[in-house]
Amino acid sequence: MSAARTAASSAGKPAAVPNAGGRIARRFAALKAAKRGGLVTFLTAGDPDPQTSLAIVAGLPKAGADLIEIGMPFSDPMADGPAIQASSLRALKAGMTLRRTLDLVAAFRKGDGETPIVLMGYFNPILAYGPDKFARDAAASGADGIICVDLPPEEADELAPPLAAHGLDLIRLATPTSSDARLPAIVGGASGFLYYVSILGITGTKSASAPALDEAVARLRRHTTLPIAIGFGIKTPEQAAEAAALADAAVVGSAIVNIIAENLDAAGKPKPGLADKALAFVAALAKAVRAGR
């Protein structure tokens, strides 16, 4: 791994890191020093309602999440599967907006100054909010990085400069179909970490095999020195441990979101103990990830 990293930097492909001293970089450095991969947990802001959502997010660091990815709800999340789309719609129904998502981040930051927060979403709500204002307010709320799913490098002009100006990492996605010819454009403007979408498909469906992941990570390392997180299709503690060991972190989303969906009453209100159940699952993931390497 270190040989590949050295090769990449000597070939003149330094990663753009506007936030080199930021929480994301610090956290990956700490993980590296501890010689283990990290756990990134995803849930949608405001799912199933703002209070429950904040209770879960606030409990994530103690449960063992190393980084927290928070979905900004959107009515038409076309790269996500049914589980995450349903979570978006639950949050919107509960009155969630982009402003309230940033408020949730700010509320979390009152109790935790170190765990990195990455906001994941689609461009239209950001465009409606105003990209400059969004970058300013997201940074002020204590967010560290942004994943904008439907904004490939070709269309990043409206968002990348404001994010950089406010010290937010622009986290890019690479996929099994991202060719060696295309990867330089993807990692060129990326910072924080590289999110590897490990399957061809949407979130929460099939899973990639370990040899396929191993090969993919080796290929990505030839193009970037950024830490690599593997996501899409990671559902169990075992899979999370495997992916985190192969790369630098594993992202678990739909499996956590499913626990929320399974613990709602007929009216869509959270049943007692929902937050504890979600956090217990995160703790099981964290335990496996920490034992994995």
Partner: protein, 414 residues
């Protein structure tokens, strides 16, 4: 909302190499989809330059679709309205009953060239689904059509048609279970089946190159119209009118004429229960620019950027967005965009049936309602061409339901 109109030397050069029409269009898709749409673009550019491809497309357009479609002087309607001389471009006479097949043929021939072995599509009213199922049957390729569960319920005849043609109709229950959700699910299928699948998008929207490609396939409407009106009248028309859902029939008619400065063009959006009611499908007259389904364009959305639901009696216009080239033509002022309510479209539907013996689809019934408003204000020498882009057989149940009381009353008094 729109910037001041600007006169350009040409309105026909777009999109640029990144797929933008001014600020609109583009490729706002997840990284998983990027390699696919770049492939489609590359293959389309090559096909466009290949005379053999064009020759094959022309063959099927003539012998399978029945092109050219006639340009018909609607004499009784002209007399009834007492103004402009009205022509119908009769794309409702195409095989499958609408303009959709022009585009489906172009795309499936491209899919074949690319070696794809499976076809997917989205559909709202079912017209594009039927056209896609038709060409898939013609070329022996398996076809999956995504259709909102709500739309399946209100468009049963078309669902049965698609199944007769051998297509699998997959109900979409995510989101609002309508056209926009069907498009989301088709895109999800495509991402998961990169290797063998071609996605035939039904309108001039979506990520580049689709808006330009679909427009190119529909331009045959305008190109034929030019030759036909020259033959009939010895000169070009004064006004063109067409309905706008995603806008493929309209851009097909308008595009070849965009640089003819003397020709006025009117696109007609669906105003549903009225622009002030909040229940309409008029993205340009009642929405604002945003990003959805791979392109930047005018959208129906709330203050938070969440997409809101469209409403129109015409399922084919019931979409919260519009093709990006229309958004650009709207901002530049080259094309005027009007809005027609459900009620006005229903009135025009009946008027056309009685004066011309043609049941228009509810989509062109919107264009016709605009003609009914405009024609009486124009001189008799004014040549007006309206695109009759689909036939109304599919809509008779919807129309009967909407007019139920009226029909009952008439039946009672006769």
């Amino acid at each position: 909302m729109a910037p001041a109109p600007q006169a350009l030397n040409s309105y026909r050069t777009g999109p640029d190499e990144r797929g933008h029409f001014g600020q609109y269009g583009g490729r706002y898709v997840a990284e998983t989809l990027m390699p696919l749409i770049l492939d489609v673009e590359k293959a389309y550019v090559a096909a466009k330059a290949d005379p053999a491809y064009q020759k094959e497309l022309d063959y099927y357009l003539e012998h399978y679709v029945g092109r050219p479609s006639p340009l018909f002087h609607a004499e009784r309607l002209t007399k009834h309205l007492g103004g402009a001389k009205i022509y119908f471009k009769r794309d409702e006479l195409n095989h499958t009953g609408a303009h959709k097949i022009n585009n489906c043929l172009g795309q499936i021939l491209l899919a074949k060239r690319m070696g794809k072995r499976r076809i997917i599509a989205e559909t709202g009213a079912g017209q594009h689904g039927v056209a896609t199922a038709t060409v898939a049957a013609l070329f022996g390729l398996p076809c999956v059509v995504y259709m909102g569960a709500v739309d399946i319920e209100r468009q049963k005849p078309n669902v049965f048609r698609m199944r007769l043609l051998g297509a699998e109709v997959r109900p979409v229950t995510s989101g609002s279970s309508t056209l926009k959700d069907a498009m989301n699910d088709a895109l999800r299928d495509w991402v998961a089946n990169v290797e063998d699948t071609f996605y035939i998008i039904g309108t001039a929207a979506g990520p580049h190159p689709y808006p330009a490609m679909v427009r190119d396939f529909q331009q045959v409407i305008g190109i034929e119209t030019r030759a036909q009106i020259m033959k009939a009248e010895g000169r070009l028309p004064d006004t063109l009118v067409a309905a706008i859902g995603g806008g493929s029939n309209a851009i097909g008619l308008f595009h070849p004429f965009l640089d003819e400065k003397g020709i006025a063009m009117v696109g007609v959006e669906a105003a549903g229960l009225g622009l002030g009611s909040g229940k309409h499908a008029a993205s340009m007259n009642g929405g604002r620019p945003g990003v959805l389904h791979g392109n930047k364009t005018y959208l129906l959305q709330d203050e938070d950027g969440q997409i809101t639901e469209a409403h129109s009696i015409s399922a084919g216009l019931d979409y919260p967005g519009v093709g990006p080239e229309h958004s650009w033509l709207f901002d530049t002022g080259r094309v005027t965009y009007a809005a027609i309510t459900d009620r006005e479209a229903l009135d025009a539907f009946q008027l056309c049936a009685r004066t011309e013996g043609i049941l228009p689809a509810l989509e062109p019934a919107h264009a016709l309602a605009q003609v009914v408003k405009m024609a009486p204000t124009l001189p008799k020498s004014h040549l007006l061409v309206m695109n009759m882009c689909g036939r109304g057989d599919k809509d008779v149940f919807t129309v009967a339901e909407a007019l139920g009381n009226d029909i009952a009353k008439k039946a009672g008094t006769h």
